[in-house]
Amino acid sequence: MTNLTTIVSVAGASFAASFVEAVEALTIVLAVGLARGWRPALTGAAAALAALALIVAALGPLLGAIPIRALQFIVGVLLLMFGLRWLRKAILRTIGVIALHDEDAAFQRETRELTAAERRQARGLDWIAGVTAFKAVLLEGIEVVFIVIAVGAARGLLGLASVGALAACVLVAVIGAAIHRPLARVPENALKFAVGVMLSAFGLFWTGESLGVDWPGGDAAILAFAALFLGVAAVLVVLLKPQLAEHA
């Protein structure tokens, strides 16, 4: 039986992770739209959404055919690789080893590249712009689909995870349509930190469960694992940040 901890964790992780991905996709689509017009931007984005729908329609039924233990193992290991990678990057950004992701900078860079392409090639501009929007939405969308499957499938909560992801994408799209600017004020690294912690906790839980581990406390162990990863990350930040500042 699914308890409240699982429901909140699945919906929350799916919403937060999808929010970050949607913000990144929005930045590129906005850059294309403002630099080259909304027709190629929206056509590319719509084509990517159609491609994503096809991928989901094709792969979705396969999920039901995979035994639950095997699904938990595959999803658990992929979540560990995905979540710990996010968490590692968030820690490295917090301590200043790598630069913070800046939506304004990404927007400026994409606009510059599209403007440079305009000078080089007068024809086929819509095509280049459309493909840029298509690629951005497809790649970020695939990440959203993976996150939904990863946090939802192993507990039969795909619907709940999908609602969380859809709510995030709709929210970002509405805000983007309203302000026509990248969402630079979103605390992206803090969100990635939190999502990295949650996805790693889910990954550890499901990988262990697939190997027959009976975690103490059942699903509540996910929260304990989240606290463990958060604690380790906090210790790393506290220990490493001053040392790196000294050497800077």
């Binding site: 992929l78 990678r85 690629k135 550890l204 009976d214 380790v232 790196l244």
Partner: protein, 74 residues
């Protein structure tokens, strides 16, 4: 474009080879323990619980140390 998409998809899971290898090694050892019944399942769970945060910490410390050396020119 397909090549770039595939490369980015792999990049979703593998960024630091050390971390990716450490995760897979921890899972492989835990899996071998659990499936061979050489130890109770909780041992595999304990191994994952200790090894995965340790792998994260080692990966971050390695990157920070490398960055620090580059900054000081050492």
């Amino acid at each position: 474009m397909i090549g770039a998409i595939v490369a980015q998809l792999i990049g979703l899971f593998v960024d630091d080879e050390f971390l990716a290898t450490a995760i897979l090694a921890a899972v492989a050892v835990a899996g071998a323990l659990a499936l061979s019944a050489a130890a109770p399942a909780w041992v595999a769970g304990l191994l994952l619980t200790l090894a995965l945060p340790a792998a994260l910490a080692a990966s971050v410390v390695r990157s920070a140390w490398r960055a620090s050396r580059e900054t000081t020119g050492g």
